[in-house]
Symmetry: C2
Subunit: 448 residues, 2 copies
């Protein structure tokens, strides 16, 4: 029986999912591998972390792709352990899988830039589990502060430091101010919103350095207006339990430190070293093939791709377009034609800074304010996979923006979270210490 | 300053939430304590476990009650460690809290009836975390079976045993058959639905022993028609890894054993023993006050309440009505009046057996089929707290019943689940063993 060549796609992020989908019609057998059984719509993670959306609303079950082409498309939920480039096979969960073509699309991971304590005490925000863990932690801080009367402990619980002034950092800062305004003020009558400190620490001299200065300045002004303290030209030297230390010697006491500052390519273990560039990203030809192996493609956040002499920014549309390009080039190779160079068509960039206010650059046109905000919502709704997700996210947005509320306020049990690394024993011990310290001034004295 | 007397309500299930809400208007200060910051709508848990609803759709943030009466209502997210009945205080997370009145509403917990191995290897279904864990486990079994070629291992992965033929057991059995029909058949082209075995083990001689025989017989017939194997008069003697052993010597090899068979009252630690009755439930007077302490009430699943000489069944409407009654009696006591006896007004019982088919008893009227199913949906939608939940659950039901699909198919990472007790190291080792055994006959041979 004649078999089609097998294309293995590793990673079901924007690049990998798109490559797999684009290959669906071709005369190849596709095997998509991911450690999760779902695709995560990363640009909305911060809205999960701030209780605006449910985790289930921003994911897409990968097996929905199987439904569309059940005979040529397979999915394997597994971790890729090893790739043998010379012999063209990879190993995932102890299964050895040979390939004819390989598309690497494993994305990036948080990089703590050598800051000691950051990986233990700061919260990253790159996966769905991390977003859910962060949400639970933020809400737990308010729960604890509500019955903590020790002023210092209480202030530490109510201080939130965001490290990084890029798009994720400012979106997170904006969303946190709204969480406070929308839900915290109503839920915790014993917490004065003035007690809550939101601090954004940025190493550069302005926010949003990847966008034109005007937009960074606008973001600064908007965040400042809603009460976010912004430290520019400030670098974190160390994170310890309950504190962030800056290089200039300042210490910020905070129970919550959110790390949005760095990333590096997440490359699976390979038999032979692949050439890399900045941030550990794989060097690729203009066709997205790796330099050394013409049957191996690297796309998305793990590939170093230049356009007009500058590296691409690492955003979703780039990965999506690369997924399409890699798929087309594989089909060309299969037909004996030469792969074509990839060229990124930049439709623009957008970021929102809380309710009714956004920034963006579309072509040469720079947007700020309501229009930027509205376009952001529209674009994300259109790109979010799955009709059901779109409907539910739209309804959640209507609910949260019109009623100024946050619905997804579930705290996952600490016993479950502890496992995911952030809620370690130390933290949970410190919690009961906090509660103990409040006992004296707490419920005891208020009787008829 | 004059203070209102403090009523502490422990547990935010149906009884506790209702008691707290009913006390909102009264001249008392209410403190509600729960280990979670949300109320769980338990009757829909099995729909979370079978990927039909999202966890966030069946919970209600307890602090929504704070919003309604911010000055007299407080909430504490904590575990109650000790209750000192003589001195009228309790301790939660090391905080000592005195009370004037106490409402105990801590519900029930799974009881494994002395069956060895059940607590380690069977999946309970009484909390939201358990429902999410079970969902992830069920879907993981299909993920593994999809690339397992060892016939015996594959059959074990595709066999699901439900222990208990009460309402939860039959609802779970019905929902699992639909999960298979709606999603599994489409998602896993390599799994033949005929391979999947669903087994219901019931110790009594018919299903739904708490309802009239006609309804139990109907449920049997319906489940049998959709392919569920039903073992009546069968008792589980032991659960081991991957197997259920029956008292008659039979062994059912199954990776998934769902335990819906027993429960006992979950009573917090008290200074002095409270009188108990069957299943460890607290003995109460007809007024719902505990026998020994007139200022302490016990309601819901943890209280032993009789009506016409028979104990109540332990369903949500009983707890809700008891919550109202306890609140009223506290107000009466406060005014120096005698508390009044509680009387349960039975509006009926309903259970569904998969799509378009339900059973119920309303007054003397016994319902089966479409009408029972439709009424069940309506009643649950009306009682589910929160407008947003109602809308989202309704949309999810429309989606799942009209399109015959299941949307909430996210598998939570095993590293997170392992913590919650079910996904232990053994299981995860056995998984990679399974994958290894499939490697030989797996992807290796299918090449052009």
């Amino acid at each position: 029986m004649r078999r089609y060549p097998r294309v293995v796609v590793v990673g079901a992020g924007f690049g990998g999912m798109q490559a797999a989908q684009s290959l669906a019609g071709a005369r190849v057998e596709v095997l998509l591998i991911d450690r999760n059984n779902y695709h995560t719509f990363v640009p909305l993670l911060y809205q999960v972390a701030t209780a605006q959306l449910e985790p289930g609303q921003i994911i897409f079950p990968i097996r929905n792709l199987v439904r569309r082409s059940p005979y040529r498309f397979q999915f394997l939920m597994a971790e890729v352990e090893e790739v043998n480039l010379a012999q063209k096979w990879l190993k995932a969960d102890d299964i050895v899988i040979p390939y004819d073509y390989l598309v690497l699309a494993t994305g990036s991971q948080t990089k703590y830039l050598g800051v000691s304590g950051a990986s233990e005490y700061a919260f990253p925000l790159r996966t769905l589990e991390e977003a859910v863990t962060l949400r639970s932690h933020i809400l737990s801080c308010f729960e604890q502060a509500a019955h903590t009367f020790d002023a210092e402990v209480r202030q530490r619980l109510l201080t939130f430091v965001i490290v990084g002034g890029g798009a994720t950092g400012i979106e997170m800062a904006g969303a946190l101010t709204e969480l406070v305004k929308a839900a915290i003020a109503k839920d915790y009558p014993t917490i004065n919103p003035q007690e809550i400190r939101l601090i954004l620490v940025q190493s550069g001299d302005r926010l949003l350095t990847e966008l034109p200065p005007k937009l960074g300045h606008y973001a600064y002004k908007r965040l400042w207006q809603v009460g976010v303290e912004i430290y520019l030209d400030a670098r974190v030297s160390q994170v310890t339990e309950g504190a962030v230390h800056l290089e200039d010697g300042a210490t910020l006491l905070a129970e919550t430190v959110i790390w949005t500052a760095g990333l590096e390519a997440a490359v699976p273990e390979t038999s032979d070293d692949l050439s890399t560039k900045a941030k550990g990203k794989l060097a690729v030809r203009s066709t997205l093939q790796t330099v050394d192996y013409p049957e191996v493609y690297a796309i998305g956040d793990m590939a170093y791709v230049e356009q007009n002499g500058k590296p691409l920014a690492g955003v979703a549309p780039e990965a999506l377009q690369q997924g399409v390009a890699a798929a087309k080039n594989i089909v060309r190779q299969r037909k004996g034609k030469a792969p074509q160079p990839f060229s990124y068509f930049n439709k623009g960039r957008l970021a929102i800074i809380g309710c009714y206010s956004g920034v963006g650059k579309i072509g040469k046109f720079e947007l700020t304010g309501f229009l930027g905000w509205f376009m952001w919502l529209g674009v994300h709704l259109v790109y979010l996979p799955g009709f059901r997700n779109r409907l539910f996210v739209l309804l959640s947005w209507l609910h949260s923006y019109l009623l100024s509320d946050r619905s997804s306020r579930r705290i996952i049990a600490a016993s479950t979270l502890r496992q995911s690394g952030r809620f370690n024993e130390t933290r949970s011990r410190s919690r009961s210490a906090l509660l103990q310290s409040s006992a004296a001034s707490g419920y005891g004295s208020e009787r008829e």
